[in-house]
């Protein structure tokens, strides 16, 4: 099994004030990131968010307009890709079609002037790491998509780089295989102790695999944190909407609130409900309220918000209700199965409620 010696911070990456323009567009807009050695970091965002450009800058295929990139404390911003000693796995399996599987894996060792015997031994070792030891003599085209991607990983780690870059490596695979590979890659990363920077537009994938996730939008870093922090404490409206399902609601702050304090929000459709201020709110300031469907509850009588059930969707582990609030607002409410929570039928009028901590109020900048 291939493992890395626990060097000092050799596998850490620091991105400082990175800017990359394509014509008038700022693809990456002043992004700073610290990636710890041995960490699995996901760069998550929709297309055009700048996540791939950041990866390409780390890899050396894009040179930034401003900022710098440090690898283990050393400035690599202007180093050509072949001298960075990073591993990379691409979106489409980029196995060289004119080389056998083993030759593909031995290629980086050949480029490093390593002798034939050692090359072959180390390539076989890497092939064993990805559990394909029987496939060395095959041609890439003879392998399935998942096998090809495993060979691509073996090829990217055979020369023991400190960092492995992955550019949506699983997007070409079907759903079941993708989920298997997610666990396999995660496992391999822990075993080897390699730093992984993983680009994806799939939030489930990012939450499943990463130690920390950096969410990007329009070239700006929105939030970086552990998956749980992103889901439960999104710092921007974009993050709240991009990760998981969210009900959004517009309103005004009834009172002033400091960051993290509870605040009463006067909803646009009528009603005053509790929330937690994500940023300081002035009284009467416009806010957007974000609320997860599973945190919305049918109140067993008492105060709350009036709404009518328009649709009920049963999905085994949970039931999702589509609701129309009195002001016309459409909402989703999820009731986990077996928790003994009150349910409701289509057409029924219900009263809704939630905890202040579960609703997050974002200041709307006019």
């Amino acid at each position: 099994m291939l493992t890395l010696d626990p060097g000092r911070n050799a596998g850490s990456i620091a991105i400082e004030g990175l800017v990359k323009r394509f014509g008038p567009v700022r693809a990456v807009d002043d992004v700073s990131l610290d990636i710890r050695a041995g960490e699995f970091l996901a760069l998550l965002g929709p297309s055009g968010s700048g996540k791939t450009t950041i990866l390409m800058a780390i890899a050396g295929f894009e040179y930034p307009d401003a900022g710098r990139i440090l690898l283990g404390g050393e400035d690599i911003t202007w180093l050509p890709p072949n001298r960075r000693n990073l591993g990379m796995v691409f979106q489409r399996y980029t196995l060289f079609p004119h080389m056998s599987v083993l030759e593909n894996i031995a290629f980086p060792l050949k480029m490093r002037g390593i002798g034939r015997a050692e090359r072959e031994e180390r390539a076989r070792d890497a092939l064993r790491t990805v559990q394909l030891e029987q496939m060395g003599a095959r041609q890439p085209a003879q392998l399935s998509g998942g096998q090809q991607q495993r060979v691509a990983i073996a090829r990217a780690i055979v020369y023991r780089p400190r960092v492995l870059l992955m550019d949506e490596p699983l997007s070409a695979l079907d759903k079941k295989l993708r989920e298997e590979m997610q666990i396999e890659i995660k496992h391999l990363q822990r075993e080897i102790g390699i730093t992984v920077v993983f680009v994806t537009h799939d939030q489930t994938e990012a939450l499943t695999m990463a130690d920390r996730v950096a969410v990007l939008d329009h070239g700006r870093l929105q939030q970086i944190g552990a998956p749980r922090d992103l889901y439960e404490a999104p710092q921007t409206e974009f993050v709240a909407g991009f990760i998981g399902e969210t009900n959004f609601w517009s309103g005004t702050a009834a009172i002033a609130a400091a960051r993290g304090e509870a605040v009463a929000v006067r909803l646009d459709g009528g009603g005053v409900m509790p929330a937690t201020a994500v940023s300081p709110l002035p009284p009467g300031g416009r806010v957007r309220l974000a609320l997860r469907p599973e945190r919305l509850r049918i109140a067993a009588g008492g105060e709350g918000l009036e709404a009518r059930v328009t649709e009920a969707i049963y999905a085994g582990n949970a039931t999702t209700l589509m609701l129309q609030a009195a002001g016309g607002q459409m909402l989703r409410l999820r009731i986990p199965a077996g928790a003994g929570l009150p349910e409701a039928a289509v057409g029924e009028a219900v009263t809704l409620g939630w905890q202040a901590a579960d609703a997050r109020a974002f200041a709307v900048t006019p």
């Binding site: 040179y63 202007w78 180093l79 050509p80």
Partner: protein, 274 residues
């Protein structure tokens, strides 16, 4: 830091690009340099020209022999383009949509006129045409040029047919159209840009064709390339520069038309997929 900021490999890439542009100039310059030379007033071609004059263009239009050769080439080109387009489109349909016995052999025949050196074909035609008294006749030229243009027509129409989504034919049939109506209203309109550009290039091939024309012309019926060939061989007169310029202009027009047709075909394909 300033030195380190220069991108790696930039020098190598710039050298390669410079070489590429030099090759582009090499490709275009010899043909383009003829254009300014054709408007010089003098009897000897000179670059740069000593003045501006359309004298040599006038010479061409007043010379009965040049005009006769041009009209004959035009006639041959139109007939050859028509015959090659019809026969080539039919064959392409048979290859894609039919069960053609001896398909491999037919495909070999298609590439025949491209693979076999034109001089070999020209001499062979000369021998047979002389026995059949076909040298210097419209029929002889039209047949010879049709055969030379056929491979290009077949390749172009094949490409158009492969791009064409055969599901559309099934859709037409399910709408109640018969086989012929389907071809007439669905298949043909959709491959039309391919067919028209095939006809265009078949015409250019015939109109420009020098080798076969060189052999099967006779003294009073000759094509434009044959007339040019004779004039080049005997005297490099500036009239030739004028003719060459006009021929190049014609090629540019044909290429532009071909480009427009290709864009039209792509737009149709995009409309179908989007």
């Amino acid at each position: 830091m300033a030195a380190a900021r220069s991108r790696p490999n930039r020098a190598g890439r710039m050298a390669l690009n410079a070489a590429a542009y030099a090759v582009t100039v090499f490709l275009l310059l010899p043909t383009l340099i003829i254009i300014p030379m054709s408007v010089g007033p003098e009897r000897f071609l000179r670059f740069p020209p000593a003045g501006f004059s359309l004298r040599w263009y006038a010479e061409y239009f007043h010379d009965a022999e040049w005009i006769a050769a041009t009209l004959f080439s035009l006639e041959v080109g139109l007939i050859a383009a028509f015959c090659a387009t019809v026969a080539g489109t039919m064959l392409a349909l048979a290859l894609v949509r039919g069960r053609l016995p001896g398909r491999g052999l037919v495909e070999l025949l298609v590439v025949g006129p491209v693979i076999v050196p034109h001089v070999a074909l020209a001499v062979a035609m000369f021998l047979v045409f002389e026995r059949l008294r076909l040298t210097g006749t419209l029929l002889g030229f039209a047949m010879a040029h049709t055969v030379l243009a056929l491979p290009f027509v077949v390749f172009t129409v094949l490409a158009a047919l492969y791009r064409f989504d055969a599901e559309l034919e099934r859709a037409a049939l399910s709408c109640g159209a018969g086989r012929f109506a389907t071809f007439r209203h669905v298949t043909l309109p959709l491959i039309a840009p391919g067919v028209v550009s095939a006809a265009l290039f078949a015409f250019i091939i015939s109109f420009d064709e020098p080798v076969v024309s060189f052999f099967i012309s006779d003294l009073d019926r000759k094509t434009l390339p044959r007339k040019m060939f004779e004039d080049i061989d005997y005297n490099i007169s500036p009239t030739l520069a004028a003719v060459a310029t006009m021929l190049t202009a014609l090629t540019v027009l044909a290429l532009l038309a071909g480009f427009v047709l290709k864009r039209a075909a792509e737009r149709r394909a995009a409309a179908r997929n989007g």
